[in-house]
């Protein structure tokens, strides 16, 4: 075990910090929101050039040989400044789903496109009734066509290709679909944090390619989702850390009743609890990353525990940060409200605390049961 960044990892973190400092000031981000796309092509190009789109991808999958830690570093940095581009669905969800499939010319071509920044491929997997449960897929596949509705496809409005999960009698398969094809319609919307997403409706939409045959798709998309969850929780940790820092700065300068707010013990204690929630989130994030290598149930347990903790921490820290800012925290003009909105979205995305506690409860075991690794502890 080693909880320190390697030299290369530190360089990556520094690189992310330089990018966000330059391109993601509060004002720059506001302009991007007003532009109404949630995606700056130049940013995406930068992601490709700096190798971030393949930083967490194994070499045999067309990446640069890093892993979930590299993705954690990027996503944590993105969480600090609330990056809007759909990095998570493309570079984690789609890429790791593809990487979990057997190598093939098609797979490798798609991955190459992602890493190069040419292909903005996103999975269309979640559905409203699933509420975050990865195996609830009602969308159907039959005769080369897809029918059903996928919800909250982040980046779905700008995707070049879609990886659609669909069920047939033999189980869940994964299919490549052209979002511009007949039978595909998108209801685009913004999330509370100004990311852009879409609900995608497939009405006998034609499949370009079969990526995973029926019965073989769930494992791959679940692996992609597992990486996505750790990326999302990394983002949460970055956003929480920023929220705490901003709140500390605010209450140490803001004066009321003849003193700074930071002298009030109730506020001090609330900030202590915020810090604790953030650190526990980071701890269980590490655990989640370690769990990615574990066999099925162990992995799912570790990820469920992680998301349950991080979801509640994100809400607590976000709500508390606004509370301690007082009225000014409620305004669009201040960054803290945007951080809260991002944390709110993260808390619910891919299932909130309740769902993941239910998952965890359904996979019981002793702390010492399976292996001796703290990953399973």
């Amino acid at each position: 075990m080693d909880f320190n960044l390697s030299g290369e990892q530190q360089a990556l973190a520094d690189s992310v910090a330089r990018f966000t400092a330059r391109d993601y000031s509060f004002e720059a981000r506001r302009r991007l929101i007003e532009a109404g796309t949630g995606l700056d092509p130049q940013h995406w190009q930068t992601f490709a050039e700096l190798g971030w789109l393949g930083a967490g991808l194994a070499e045999d999958a067309g990446g640069y040989g890093g892993g979930p830690v590299e993705n954690m570093i990027i996503m944590e940095g993105f969480g600090r400044t609330l990056v809007l581009e759909p990095f998570l669905p493309v570079a984690l969800f789609a890429a790791q789903t593809l990487a979990a499939l057997p190598a093939s010319a098609l797979r490798d071509e798609l991955l190459t496109g992602i890493v190069a920044g040419d292909a903005l491929i996103v999975p269309a997997h979640g559905e409203l009734a699933a509420r975050g449960a990865p195996d609830h897929v009602e969308t159907t596949f039959a005769n080369g066509r897809i029918t059903g509705t996928k919800s909250l496809v982040i980046g779905g409005h700008a995707a070049t290709q879609l990886i659609v999960s669909a069920r047939s009698t033999e189980g869940i398969g994964l299919y490549l679909v052209d979002p511009a094809a007949d039978g595909v319609s998108a209801r685009r919307y913004r999330l509370l944090d100004n990311q852009h997403a879409a609900d995608l409706q497939f009405d006998e939409a034609p499949v370009l390619e079969t990526l995973a045959h029926p019965g073989e798709g769930l494992a791959a998309i679940s692996t992609g989702l597992a990486h996505t969850l750790t990326g999302l929780c990394s983002e949460a940790v970055g956003a929480m850390d920023t929220a705490i820092r901003m709140t500390r700065d605010y209450i140490t300068t803001r004066r009321q009743f003849g003193t700074t707010l930071s002298t009030f013990q109730a506020l001090q204690h609330r900030m202590a609890d915020m810090l604790v929630e953030m650190e526990l989130s980071r701890s269980i994030l590490y655990q989640g990353i370690a769990a990615l290598d574990q066999p099925g149930a162990s992995r799912d347990r570790g990820l469920a525990a992680m998301k349950a903790i991080v979801s509640s921490a994100a809400l607590f820290v976000g709500r508390s940060a606004v509370q301690l800012h007082g009225g000014i925290g409620m305004t669009e003009e201040l960054a803290i409200g945007h951080t809260y909105r991002r944390l709110f979205v993260i808390a619910g995305q891919f299932g909130g605390e309740s769902l993941h506690l239910k998952t965890l409860a359904g996979l019981p075991r002793s702390f010492w049961q399976e292996t001796t690794s703290p990953a399973a502890c």
Binding site: I33, E34, G36, G126, L128, A129, A130, R131, A133, H136, S151, L152, R187, R188, Y189, R190, L191, L192, N194, H196, A197, D199, R255, Q256, F257, F264, A266, L267, L315, R319, V322, Q323, G326, G327, G329, M330, T331, E332, E333, G337, H338, Y340, R341, F344, V345, G348, Q349, G352, S354, L357, K358
Partner: protein, 403 residues
Amino acid sequence: MNFDIAPEDEAFRAEVRAFITAHLPPDIARRGQHDYHSAREDVQRWMRILNAKGWSAPHWPARFGGTDWSPLRKYIFQDELRRARAPVLDRCALDLLGPVLCTFGSPQQQARFLPPILNGDEWWCQGFSEPGSGSDLASLRTRADLDGDHYIVNGQKIWTSEAHYADWIFALVRTDQTVKPQAGISFLLIDMKSPGIVRRPIWSIDEGLTLNEVFFDNVRVPAENLIGEPGSGWGYAKFLLTHERTTSAVVSHTKRDVDQVRHLAAHARAGDGLLIDEPAFAAKLARLEAEVIALEWSVMRVLHAAEHDAAGNAVASLLKLRGSELSERAALLAAEALGDHGLAAMPDPEGHHILHGDGLSPGLTDDEAIGVTAKAMFRRATTIYGGASEIQRTLIAKSILGL
């Protein structure tokens, strides 16, 4: 002791409900299901209907156009309005300014200002908070200097709700710089059309507009618009803030929201079943419901307590603290009920004030679902405004527990 409601009060509730059912315009009722602040036109139409019935401001003294209903009946009336999703009225004018005018205003002021309030013709906003004086009102700096028969007002107010709608503002201003901070404050009525007033919208994190900054630059205000005595404004403000001991519980609003959550959860699919049947969600909703019941019965205790009853004050002190928490909890639970769509921005499609007028919103067909996430964001403010929860706890500790 007797915890049963009198049959006459039950009959009264039925009467109110029947009136609302008969007179609330269906289009207003439908928009009332949405979780946005009502547009001025809707409020105005509804106020005129109520005013025709004499029900615009039941809590005012009867001789000013109010009623002599018991506190319980006033509560029941408001409760039925929320149940029906009727527009929330101009609270600044009716609940805050009105009682001050009725009690401390001159007959001329009463005759001039009360009738247009009752009919929804003139709208008011409250100018108390200033930058740098959040929960600490005594430090306010906006000044009004007498110049002949006019005051010249200079300064700035902030967090002014609905100032973009308002025709008038009632403001705390400092008319005497030489005395102790609280003693130099007066209560002044100012026409928002006066030259020198500038409003700046403060967009909030729900992407909606309710708050504003209001700037005063040598604004001339007739001296006759000062309420009561110069230097007594602090006392009127305290009267105003404590006059209604139970509305801060917003319990009828939250009851409406709990019903909304139940409706949404009963229509939201969760796996192969419905969300309402998911034990974890059902337990959260039940817990919320039980807390709202406890809150409402606390309101009942206050409604029936004598004004200076110590036990009543202890209960009254919790209404804002817990009422605001439950208000946000209900909104968050409604958003959770919407699942993926509970993470989407929902700017008011029929509203006049939209920060991002891009029309991007998920395709919702259930009126009860529209605006839910905007409300969830907006309600983050409930434990901040009107005396933050931290202030409330300190108040309880000091005034009730004597710590």
